[in-house]
Symmetry: C2
Subunit: 344 residues, 2 copies
DNA sequence: CTGTTAGCGCCTTCAG
DNA sequence: CTGAAGGCGCTAACAG
């Protein structure tokens, strides 16, 4: 319960004017002597400059608004780590708002942040709407989007189409012909549409008679597990989970039924989460560097703040992680094995 | 790039005084007629009240400082979800600071937050020091601690000792006599000391000739995996990972060596993460409800803000999750099996 | 180099 | 019920 000591108290105690103290705090045009007096006074009183008063003047909050669809997900955690890596050293702090996967809430959050006077906003979006564009237009607060991409907005995300395509081409190369893509709703453009489309095209392009069926699941283990029977009914040579978690749920189901992976059926995922390396067989997947996305997004926002704005659309590099869950049908043996080592 | 419209502009446009607009915004002693005029003016100008100016007067920021050891962890994610669940409906927002698992940084963050003028602070601590107590004393900003417990501070955490004890007693009940506790550094009082101590006492209490060896690992899959050989060298009947992740790393190792779990050796964890249910065998563990911890911590802080402060120490309930990874040595068969169902 | 003088945008007595 | 006046704590010209 400290008394609130202001710059005036310090000034009085040091025998100088407020401005001198202010200068001491900021630029620094002060004689060495007064400098010392101010320092002493500040130490004695335990003075802490008032954040709000300062911001009221300087028009700079050093606050970055961050809106996320949810908190308890690995990828979101990585993303935040990426933000922090960039913002923290520069003295920016993050104001966090969660949208519970609801677009409406996401919009509200953005608006609220804009009023709040944050310097910039990053939103890990669940789907871009027209209102997003409006908000970006009508407010002076720089905005960058992650997780989805949209024309005319500053977006940074992983290349979902590319990842899907890469996986499709790889599996075709391994001699697979019948795939099931276990994916999520199309509301999620990035995962439900782009990633899937990429896979479809990568897998079927050329003269092959490759086919791919689609089975919709949720994002969690359990909903994937529950759809496993439907998936198997399509008699695929390979099951492609839109997400590592989906694949893990399916792997569990296959294990319970005694169906050998990859001997009898292959499974792949997307995401490259660590757990994919500890399950058996270790999951072949494509690694998304969400932390890097976070860093790029942060840097991008900083650029916009500095006026070096360029409404560009960035996509991140992908890393194919070949582990144990795919069988090479072309040469009749399992693909190269990489277990825990691939964690390093 | 909007023009910044202030309360004065609105007042002018509505033909009233600033105070009247202010009243409209806050309490509300205004005639219906002017109320309407102000509303119109506000809509027309797109006025948004300035956050900092407002806070400068009201001395209330509606901001909660949150300091976390790291971002990319499931438990931290759950914790944040819990905070958000409570704070969000009340209009509080979270200001996030990360300490990268460094105590010094954690202290700095707390201090920085205190100066910032947040209404309250929650810190998910990696270890309480004397400085923590000082900071809590010398600042008027209410503080609640999570993750660790310390006398004289407001703490809310899971009961690590109790969890350890519960697990120890359970395994002894299953007829196990030789355990290895694969744990982390003692710097982490909660996990490295309390949880371990609880296990030791729960497992050895009574006249049994139970023994437990200790092998130190990190928090991640890989470091546990790398210590698996050392652990096996102790020839335990059961391996107790201090964390589900540790157990998962060990499970992977055992699988690679063809050692059957639970037939040849049992494994348990702590945490109750979802993944524990999809690996095979599904991991027997103790579930920690971090989201609940988050909610309780948030509520506690709110109480302190409201003056209903009570320097109490709260511990959360535990849930034992019996799955497939422990063999009952007493009656010579595996314990009850619960796979994915236990996710529900 | 330093003190004085003005506000930043809003809220809050205080007379009316 | 309403307008005028006075700050909240700090910074930023402006003359010295």
């Amino acid at each position: 319960m400290e008394e609130k000591v202001t710059i005036t108290d310090v000034a009085k105690l040091a025998g100088v004017s407020k401005s001198t103290v202010s200068r001491y705090l900021n630029n620094g045009y002060i004689s060495l002597e007064k400098q010392e007096r101010v320092r002493a006074a500040i130490a004695e009183t335990g003075f802490k400059s008032n954040f709000f008063a300062k911001r009221l003047k300087t028009k700079e909050s050093k606050l970055i608004g961050i809106v996320l669809p949810r908190m308890d997900s690995v990828s979101v955690g990585k993303l935040l780590s990426g933000f922090a890596r960039i913002f923290e050293p520069l003295g920016y702090q993050g104001l966090l708002l969660v949208s519970n996967l609801e677009v409406e809430k996401e919009l509200q959050n953005i608006e609220s942040l804009q009023q709040q006077g944050v310097d910039g906003i990053i939103v890990d979006s669940v789907g871009i709407t027209e209102r997003h564009r409006e908000l970006a237009k009508t407010s002076g607060v720089p905005l960058v989007i992650t997780g989805q991409s949209a024309e005319g907005l500053a977006c940074i995300k992983i290349d979902d189409y590319g990842a899907g395509h890469m996986m499709g081409a790889y599996l075709r190369g391994q001699g697979h012909t019948r795939a099931v893509f276990a994916g999520v709703t199309e509301t999620d453009t990035a995962v439900g549409v782009e990633r899937r489309k990429g896979f479809l095209e990568g897998f079927t392009e050329g003269e092959t008679e490759a086919t791919v069926d689609f089975v919709q699941t949720g994002f969690d283990f359990l909903s994937a597990y529950n759809k496993a029977a439907d998936i198997l009914a399509c008699r695929p040579t390979v099951i492609v989970g839109a997400t590592d978690n989906i694949s893990l749920g399916i792997l569990r189901y296959l294990h319970e039924r005694g169906i050998k992976v990859p001997q009898e059926i292959s499974v792949t995922g997307f995401g490259g989460y660590d757990v994919g390396a500890v399950v058996y067989p270790a999951l072949t997947t494509i690694f998304f560097d969400y932390e890097l996305v976070g860093m790029k997004a942060a840097r991008f926002l900083l650029d916009k703040l500095a006026g070096k704005a360029k409404h560009e659309k960035l996509e991140m590099p992908l890393l194919f992680v070949e582990r144990e869950s795919v069988r090479n049908l072309a040469i009749g043996q399992d693909s190269e094995k990489l277990g825990l080592q691939s964690l390093v």
